[in-house]
Structures are given as C-alpha cells and as structure tokens.
C-alpha cells in the first residue's frame, strides 16, 4: 500500500470542523475533516503526523510539520495542540506523600492544577534528556520539559520522589 506523505508544498492543509483538517493534495484528492494524530507523541512531537478520517482510516502522513507551507503548518499545529493536552510543569508548589499516593500541586503552562500519582515507580518516568513524564491517577499526562532547569525549590521538592 502506498502511503501518501505530505511534505513541503505537495498539499494544502486548512482548518475544517472543530479540530479537524481539510487536506488538498496537489494534483490529487481532497479530504475533508481529517483528524491529526502524532505517531510519536513522546519522542517526536513535530514529525510523522497521521491524518485519519472519521472511521480511523489513514489518508496521509505529514513527515515534518516544520517543512510545510506556513499556513498549513499553523493549521496542523493548532489541531495537534488542541488534541494533545500535556501540560508542561513550570513550577512545583507541593509534592508530598499521603496514604501511598503522591500528591502534587503544580504550575503549568495551562494554569495551576493538582493531581495524584499512584506509583512513583511506574508513573514517573525520567528520560535521559532531562525530561520527566508523569501520569496521574486518571491517566492524564504531564511533562517537566527539563528537570535541570526547574527552580531550586521545585527540584528539591520533587527530587526525593525521583
């Protein structure tokens, strides 16, 4: 099966209904209302974005968002940024353990929030590049973009749980 890869200017992508996208392949088909999903939501945020129709069938794949035409790029970025809600933790206000739950209260790029983490061993994942991925008791995700760049107090609060 040949996959349609979208790159540079071989397609124009515009906003469709809600967070869906309309895709017009140069010299080819036009698809309405496709949903953009990251194929690598953790390791490659801007690369390999699949475009699915309502039934989940893939219509095309974007190789790299950054190589798209400016308008298309904005449309895709808006769509994925709406779909993927992974707040970036900028400051840790509280972090303590109670009844075996790790309780965290944080400041993120999307506002203040607090949540519980069930297991510090399986739900807190430090990566080698300094990122830390967290998953709360309701399966929501959070990210600390770079633990080394957090302020001292936040690091201190969090370090003992790392």
């Amino acid at each position: 099966m040949d996959r349609i890869y979208i790159e540079y200017d071989n397609a124009r992508i515009t906003k469709g209904d809600g967070i869906l996208l309309n895709v017009e392949i140069y010299g080819g088909e036009t698809f309405l209302n496709l949903e953009a999903r990251r194929l690598f939501p953790i390791t490659g945020l801007d690369r390999y974005i699949t475009l699915l129709d309502e039934d989940g069938n893939e219509k095309a794949v974007i190789r790299d968002i950054n190589n798209l035409m400016e308008d298309s790029k904005q449309a895709v970025l808006n769509a994925v940024n709406e779909y993927y809600l992974v707040p970036k933790i900028t400051k840790i206000l509280e972090c303590y353990e109670k009844f075996g739950l790790m309780k965290m209260s944080v400041e993120t790029d999307r506002g203040m929030y607090f949540f519980d983490i069930k297991s510090r061993y399986s739900d807190v994942k430090p990566l080698f590049d300094g990122r830390v991925l967290l998953k709360d008791a309701s399966d929501n995700r959070y990210e600390i973009p770079d633990i080394r760049k957090l302020d001292k107090k936040s690091r201190k609060l969090f370090n003992s749980y790392l």
Binding site: G18, E82, L85, F99, F115, S122, D139, S160, L162
Partner: protein, 747 residues
C-alpha cells in the same frame, strides 16, 4: 431554588451559581451539574454544565456571553470525544451543527459519559427522571470507590481504610520479625554481656598504668591479666552464639518475606501486571527482601546494643572525669549535622539506583525468554549493547552513591579524631601539670572509652543511610504486599456445577481512562448454547472473556452466571468451573504429564491419558520417545503450536468444567490439525455452555448463535441464518472467507 438536590461532582462555584440563577427560569430545577476542569481552549479552569429536564446550560468563558443554552430535544448525537489527556462532550444537533459543550481532563470523563448518554436518551424520548438514575449511579460510583485502590468505601467520599492504614511501615514490617521475638530478646541479653565485657579492658589499663606497674604489684598484675583473658573469652564466645542466632532469625525473616511476596503476587489482579514488569517483581523478591532483612536486624539488634554501649560509656566517663567528658561531647552535634546533610542527598540516589537496577533486571527477564527472536534477527550484538547501556546507567548512579557513601563516614571519622586530639591536648596538659587529679592511666583509659563512645555515635549517624536504602526497599515490598488483590467477597457464594446461563447487562469497560474498550454490552446466553464470537482483531473479543473470567473487575454494569452476579461468587469455585483454552497456550517447564495434570493435580494417570485422548493429543504424545515424561522447555518449548494447543485442551478436559471458552483455539494450525482440534472440541462440548472465539468462520459451524463484536460493541447476535439474512457485518465476513475458500479450492 434551582439548585435543589442537584447532583454534582464538586461544589458549584459562586460565579456559576449566580450566572445560572440569572439564566435558568426559576420554575426549572437543575437535575445534575457536571464541573469540568478545563476551559474550551484547554487551560485549567472551571467549566460546568447544568442539566434540567429539558435543557442543558453550559458555562465556559469561551461560550458566547460565558454560557450556552440548548434544548435537549435538539440534540441528535452526544458523545464524549476522548483526545489525549483531555476530552470534550461533543454534540451533533438536528440542524447538523456540531459543538463542544465543555472540556475536561480524564478525571471526570466517566461522569461525562453518563451525561452524554442522558442527552441521547432524553432526546430520544426517555423519561428524564428515569435517565437521571443512571447518571446518579455514575456519580455515586465515582464517590464510592477509593481513587487509589478501587476498593469500595464505606461511605461516599470517606477516606479509604485500606489506603489510610498504609504508611505504618514499622508496624507492618515488625510483623515479620515478631515471631522471632524470643530469640531476639535472648540475643539482646547476650549482647549486654558482650558489651559489658568490652568495657572492662580500658579500666584495666588504668589500673595497670596508674597503680599496679608503678607499685610493682606482680600478684595483682597476674589477677588483672587473668581477668582480662576471661573477659575476652566471654565476650567472644557469647558473641559467636549470638551471631549464630541472629543469622537464623535473619534467614527466617527473609524467607517469610519472600513467601509472602510470592503468595501475594499470585493473587494480584491482571491490571497490576499490565503496569508492573515481572522483572521488577523479581528484583523485589530477590534483592529488596535481603536489604530489608539486614536493616531490620540492624535496628532490632545493633541499635539496642549500641545504645547500651553509649549509655554505659557515658556513665563510666562521667564517673572518671566529667570535664573531659564534656570536652569529648563537642563533636557530637557536628557528626549529627553531617549525617543529616548526607542522608538527604543519598536517598534519592538510592531510589535511582534501584530504578536502574530494575531496568537491568527487566531486560534480563524480558529478553532471555525471547532469545529465539534475538537469534532470528541476529541481534545478539544489539541485545548486548542495550544491556551494557542500561548497566552503564546503573554503574553511573552507583558510583555517585559510592562517592557520597564514602565521603560521609570519613568526614565523620575526621571530626571524631579531632575530638580525641582535643582530649589529648587538654587532658595531656592537665596530666603534665597534675591538675584536676588527671593521671596518665586515666587519660589513656579515657581516650579508649572516648573512641568506643564514638562507635555508637557513628552508628546512629550512619543508621540514616541504611535506613534510607531500607526504606526504599520497604516501600517496594509493601507496594506488592499492600496492593489490592483480586477481590473476593467475604460472604461469596461457593458454586457447584453451573448450568451455564451467562448474562451481560450494560457492561462498559476500559483498561485505562484513555479509551473505551467495551461499550454497552447486553447479551444473554442460555445454558448449553454454543456461541461463536467473531469480529476484527482488536475489537474486544478476548476482553469480553477476560471480564467473564474476572481477570478485570473494574467494569461497569453486571455480569451474571446462572443469575448470580459473578462478583458474588467465590473466585476459586467460579474459575474452577470454567475450562479456558487461551489464545496463547502457556506451558510450564515440566513434563507433559504434569502440564496436563496442572488443571487437576489429583487426576489419576488414566484420567490424564483419557483427557489427552479426548484432546487428540495422545497419539502424538505416544510417538515422542519420552512420551508423557517428556520435559518441556520454558513456556512449552519443544512442542509445535498445534501440539501445545491440544495439550491446553487436554487440560481443560481434565478439569471437567461446567463452561468452556476457546479463544482462537485453531488459529495457528493447518486444516488437518484444525480438524483434529475441532473434533476434540466437539467431543468436549457435550451440553456445556461454550464460547468460541474464531477468525476462521468454518470453525463455528456447530455454533447455535454468533456474536459479532465491532469496536467494542455487539453489533449482531443471532443464528447463522438470521445473520446471513441480515446482510450485515457477518454476511460480509462470510463472503470474504468463502471467496478465499474458492481460491483455495481452485488451486
């Protein structure tokens, strides 16, 4: 009041209350309100829907004017659209317009599901009051279970007894050492003797230096030497006895811990193993138990001994010379401060070491059994490299820890030595000037007591270090010991033979909150029926069986067998009645005989042979040189897929179950073997309720009714003829398969 008896998941903020009171006509009442935690643009913030009998009001700063008002009658479709880390209630109106009502994180998505169902049902003509019951159920459920362990709470919103009892680490671990109480006290008593004996020599030194030698008292010299010899003799022989007993206590404790963890691991639910790697469980059983045991002994023994030693020495020192005693206490605060400083730094390192170590051991437990795959892709080098990399990560952390762990005691020793220099300086000058009655012997004895005094100080300072490392071990062990086991009600019903009526009522299930795996399953299967289950891969067929087997308990709705809710049935007596031939038959490293007899260890030889016969396995077993004594490798290596499949059918036969479940029993075999297995299955069925998952529809010719599953929903359920007449999904599947069959035949 519009907010009277309103169901709500959180208190309604004042701002929304005021807005709602302006917006909603006073005559109406808000049946339920759902508070979201995101605004429509994905930032944290409050949002709310308030639902009355006929209308829904959505409050979000990004709705025009901060609120949206809609008649439920206009709603054509309402669903919860789950995205990544967030979801929206999305409505499709009769006009064709689509809109998002509110946005929220997964924390409230279960309630949103209920709200969406409410909209659709009421729009479709349902009674709001009746539909509200369903919503109320979802709200109640959310408040009635502990968010951590999933256990029912005594009262909505109350603290979970199970979880609050956590954290009493010492008490829980103490339970493991308590059975050794007597020996422990015996050992402590022994240690008092050894400690007392250890305190004799310095005093003897003082006598020798100050008194006996200057006075040339030979007789006294002999007596003191004999006394010293006796003291040493007692100290070391008692020490040996004590050591022996301590080791026994330690070994028993660790064995007890291991047994407990292993036993607990057996009863943990599948959802535990979905998340925790077996490698990390293994390292807990092997490594952490040792670590913890060592620590428990340290605390229960050495701590006591050192404490007595400390007290004893202080008393002696004060009696000898109180001014020097004060002097030698000077380094104590420094030692304590240093210990605290290092303790804080070292505990995160220990956690990291463990994490790294757990990854190393999960590589072991993950890749070694897959060594065939590694070889087939000739990726030995890659495997080695990966292992080395992980090992290097471990090494890095361990080196870090080693640095701190070694700087620390030496720093402490340094300060302690400074303390003794102080005593030398001050005490020495006093001895020279013959001030305060200080003699050479006293000074020497005092110094030797002082150095002994720092042993316990050092010990207690260091205790923190081993305490930290033990604490992490303890946490991980308790992680398993405290984990919620599969639930078995106390008053569960023991069932005898089951007739085999199976009923799913409004069953909804998701493995995690990110996606729904089964939606609204409503089926009734009569006793003795043979049900074929078909559907595309990943549609949820095996999951359906998983729920019936009670591998996962956290579904919504009810599943009953013979009109008893399966959650009320004693787990063991229930599973015993079901013969389950799994999609991937799993054999153990044992003989063929014992692998078959696994399902019924009491079975006689002939019963086992008969079972193998029924499963069409006897013939091939008989041909292997070692026949029933053939030793299988790990996971059943040494048999072909079809052979393993037949052994697992033989297991099911031997169990003499009331109900049968086959998950793709013939998926991986040629048509001849399929025929053999098919025969075996048919022989086995004889009147038992049977569920058969199959991709090859030809397998299902004996089925009374077929259940077609698609994307987690039952879309068709009926006899072959009915479904063919329906011309739906089943019809399509049959057409595709008979087409390929004609191709097969024409070849």
């Amino acid at each position: 009041m519009i907010f009277e008896n309103t169901l709500t998941n959180l208190p309604i903020p004042k701002e929304f209350k005021e807005k709602a009171e302006k917006l909603i006509p006073p005559g109406e009442k808000v049946l339920f309100a759902l508070l979201g935690d995101l605004n429509l643009h994905g930032h944290y913030g409050a949002s709310m829907i308030a639902v009355t009998r006929g209308s829904v009001y959505a409050f979000d700063e990004f709705h025009k004017g901060g609120a949206l008002n809609l008649s439920i009658g206009y709603i054509e479709e309402a669903k919860v659209k789950r995205m990544y880390g967030n979801a929206v209630i999305r409505l499709k109106l009769e006009s064709g317009e689509q809109l998002n009502l509110i946005r929220f994180t997964y924390s409230v998505s279960a309630l949103a599901d209920a709200a969406a169902a409410f909209f659709e049902n009421v729009a479709g003509g349902g009674e709001p009051e009746k539909e509200l019951e369903m919503v109320a159920g979802a709200y109640e459920k959310m408040r009635l279970v502990c968010p951590k362990c999933g256990r029912k709470l005594s009262r909505a919103g109350s603290a979970c007894i199970n979880c609050t009892s956590k954290g009493k680490l010492a008490k829980k671990l103490g339970a493991y050492i308590m059975p050794e109480k007597k020996t422990l006290f015996f050992c402590i008593a022994l240690s008092l003797i050894t400690t007392a004996m250890a305190l004799v020599p310095p005093y003897a030194t003082k006598m020798l230096v100050d008194d006996i030698i200057p006075n040339k008292n030979i007789k006294m010299l002999l007596t003191v030497i004999i006394a010293l010899a006796a003291a040493h003799g007692i100290q070391h022989s008692v020490g040996a006895v004590r050591g022996h007993h301590l080791r026994i206590i330690g070994d028993r404790t660790v064995a007890r811990l291991r047994n407990d963890i292993y036993a607990k691991a057996q009863y943990l639910p599948m959802s535990f193993y979905d998340k925790v790697s077996t490698g990390s469980v293994i390292s807990r059983v092997s490594g952490d138990t040792n670590n913890l045991q060592a620590f428990m002994l340290r605390v229960s023994q050495d701590a006591v001994v050192q404490f007595f030693q400390m007290v004893g020495i202080i008393v002696i020192m004060v009696a000898m010379e109180w001014r020097l005693t004060l002097l030698s206490l000077i380094p104590v605060p420094i030692v304590v401060a240093v210990a605290r400083f290092f303790g804080k730094r070292i505990s995160p390192i220990y956690r990291r070491i463990w994490r790294r170590w757990a990854s190393v051991s999960s590589i072991l437990s993950d890749t070694l059994p897959g060594v065939r795959v590694i070889k087939s892709f000739t990726s030995e080098q890659r495997a080695i490299k990966k292992f080395e990399d992980y090992n290097a990560e471990w090494l890095k952390e361990d080196v870090k820890a080693s640095k701190i762990a070694n700087i620390f005691p030496h720093t402490v020793t340094f300060f302690v030595t400074c303390g003794s220099l102080l005593i030398w300086g001050v005490g020495g000058s006093w001895a020279i000037g013959e001030i305060n009655g200080i003699t050479v012997g006293l000074l020497v004895a005092f110094l030797s007591y002082a150095s002994k005094f720092y042993e316990p100080v050092n010990f207690f300072a260091n205790l923190n270090d081993s305490y930290q490392s033990a604490l992490t071990s303890a946490e991980r062990i308790l992680d398993i010991i405290d984990a919620e086991p599969e639930q078995n009600k106390e008053d569960a019903i023991e069932v005898g033979r089951l007739k085999g009526k199976i009923e799913f009522k409004n069953v909804n299930f998701s493995f995690d909150k990110t996606k729904k795996t089964l939606t609204d399953i409503n089926i009734t299967i009569e006793p003795g029926e043979i049900i074929g289950i078909v559907g595309t891969t990943g549609s949820g067929k095996s999951t359906l069986i998983n729920l019936l087997m009670r591998y996962y308990d956290n579904y919504e709705g009810d599943i009953s067998v013979d009109d008893i809710n399966i959650k009320d049935i004693d787990l063991q007596s229930f599973r015993e009645k079901i013969g389950y031939v799994q999609q991937e038959p799993m054999m153990f490293r044992d003989t063929i005989f014992r692998n078959i007899a696994y399902s019924n260890p009491k079975a006689s030889v002939e019963e086992v042979i008969h079972a193998a016969d029924v499963a069409n396995a006897h013939a091939f077993i008989a041909k292997i040189p070692d026949a029933y004594d053939t030793m299988l490798g790990e996971r059943g290596v040494g048999l072909s897929g079809g052979e393993r499949q037949r052994l697992s059918i033989a297991r099911a036969v031997l169990k003499n179950p009331s109900m049968l479940i086959f998950d793709e029993a013939t998926a991986a075999v040629d048509s001849e073997t399929e025929h053999l297995i098919q025969e075996a299955i048919e022989r086995l069925i004889s009147g038992r309720t049977t569920l058969m998952i199959a991709h090859r529809l030809s397998t299902l010719r004996k089925a009374n009714r077929i259940l077609v599953v698609d994307k987690g929903e039952v879309i068709e359920f009926g006899s072959h003829d009915e479904l063919m007449a329906l011309k739906g999904k089943y019809h399509k599947l049959i057409e595709i398969q008979s087409m390929s069959l004609t191709i097969d035949n024409s070849q």
